[in-house]
Symmetry: C2
Subunit: 331 residues, 2 copies
């Protein structure tokens, strides 16, 4: 029930998701009275596919994770993750505070054997489809061994979801030659080479969008900065384009005529279609929606959760981790 | 004479630059015979504003910097930087191998007192103008003290060029709250607070484009990845837009009608207008053009050099460094 816009986003998204996935069952977690009021506004009612579950607290978007973990034991976030832990729910989808969600999920669900810390992974659009990138901000100062764990988790996740037996995994670097990069990335590259992964070497920032890799691995600081810089650039381009097409009468007319084409273009790069990051490496499925997502974007996060459930992502990652060189990867 | 396209780019750019700046004098450095042939093709001749200087070697775009430094003592890059060292030229502009340019410039020109290593700084477009970002790849694993040096150099450079007495300097981070980020950035933030700079705190990747900072400071690994990711995204958007407007007859007609608007929009975000990064922190002016720049882009790098000369950037940075807390910043 979190996120910047709360249940005015999540309830309409739930309505659409129930329509989209006929076998989906949803539990909405939050303050019951408010949830019931929002259901009424959206023309929804509780039934065997839509249940409500009370939670009296809400974690603030800027609340420190440790404080949320300690003092918000009845937050919608905590209660929802508890439902995954108990097996009542198969996945948790939240638009709330990322740090608190990560800390709570890790505390309640625990990481898979051989994994030190979960990572945040999501799909980015490319020229030819999409690429999964991790870590996007769960970990800073990652060691080479942690980068290898990210690579293994990313490879297994993409393998499970896309039925791709050997996804091409690349390391993000500032040059493709062996001598480039920082010490951590250079040592990680050695580990990747020995890992049994389908390792494609280094990629630079611009090549991420070229579509030559299935998984791109980086430290969470780097990944988060790159992701947000791209978000900021995309927003600026959209804003400047709007300004260009509304400058005067002539440009407005041109804008009207170009609109259908612009719409079809926008659909291809619409960030809402890529909303929904997986917290991978946990004993359970937790999906993070962008805090500012609208109902259409949040619905996509539910879609990501459905795909993870259908393809048994945590089970597959858990069972295959033991057969890979993850021993060498644990620190 | 380097770069991916060599003198077919640099000579036409030189021609335009001479026309643009009536008081500019240029020395083209490279193999004399080839240079003369290219001048003829471009309808240029040697005179008191355009001189040629022979250099027998070329540094390869993928050549390791140490090797270039050791074995290419008569490369166009090395000779051009020597001309700056001797005072024959006031600035060197190169589209060549970044690592080799950095290593050679540092070896020949030396860093300013109190500066450990030069940094790469350039302007990015924002909603309201532009922002200078550094480091963009000269340094990896930067210490908090080095980040402070970047901040000081960035502040002095922007101050000199834009006659802004107190540019707002921000640190790139993955959250704006004090608890966010890695240890290096947190410690750097403390140093910035005590530095006497106009420190604006943390900015996230997307806020770089919002235009609220004059200078954004980050480690070179992070900055390079973010810059290239943005380049890759911009290229993908441009490509997808071209595809959208050429899909069928109707979209082609819409494209024709929208073209003048699209052109004016493109001018605002044209990366060529932002081509030309300064290697700041040296005893001299060295400007790095994108290796793939065309003549229009390379001409902008010359423009950046002209602005640095006119505003006496190295002299101002050198003389003001001593009056700032750079003692605490040297490691």
């Amino acid at each position: 029930m979190g996120g910047d816009r709360g249940m005015q986003v999540t309830v309409p998204a739930a309505k659409e998701a129930l329509r989209e996935h006929p076998d989906l069952k949803l539990i909405l977690v939050g303050p019951l009275e408010e949830l019931r009021a929002e259901l009424r506004r959206s023309g929804l009612r509780e039934d065997d596919r839509l249940a409500l579950h009370h939670a009296s607290q809400v974690v603030g978007m800027d609340e420190p994770p440790a404080q949320a973990l300690r003092s918000k034991k009845d937050s919608s976030m905590r209660v929802a993750i508890n439902l995954v832990k108990s097996g009542t729910a198969q996945a948790c989808v939240s638009a709330g505070n990322t740090g608190a969600l990560m800390a709570t999920a890790r505390f309640v669900l625990k990481t898979l054997p051989g994994i030190d810390r979960p990572a945040i992974i999501t799909a980015w659009p490319t020229m030819h489809g999409h690429v999964h990138v991790l870590d996007l901000g769960a970990n800073v100062d990652s060691s080479p061994e942690q980068l290898l764990q990210f690579g293994i988790m990313g490879s297994l996740l993409v393998g499970a979801i896309e039925h791709n037996p050997a996804p091409k995994v690349c390391l993000l670097n500032i040059g493709v030659e062996d001598i480039k990069g920082n010490e951590t990335v250079k040592r990680a590259s050695e580990l990747f080479r020995q890992s049994g992964l389908n390792y494609g070497g280094y990629v630079e920032g611009d090549e991420v969008f070229a579509g030559n890799a299935d998984v791109v691995v980086c430290d969470g600081f780097v990944g988060n900065v790159a992701m947000k810089a791209c978000e900021g650039l995309a927003r600026m381009i959209a804003q400047m384009m709007r300004e260009s097409f509304t400058r005067n009468l002539l440009s407005r007319v041109a804008g009207l005529i170009a609109m259908p084409v612009m719409r079809s273009f926008r659909r291809r790069v619409d960030p809402r279609r890529y909303n929904g990051a997986s917290l991978v490496g946990l004993n359970g499925i937790v999906i993070k929606s962008h805090g500012g997502a609208d109902a259409y974007g949040f619905q996509n996060s539910i879609r990501v959760a459905v795909a993870a459930i259908r393809n048994e992502v945590p089970q597959i990652i858990g069972s295959r981790l033991s057969s890979m060189q993850v021993r060498g990867a644990s620190v």
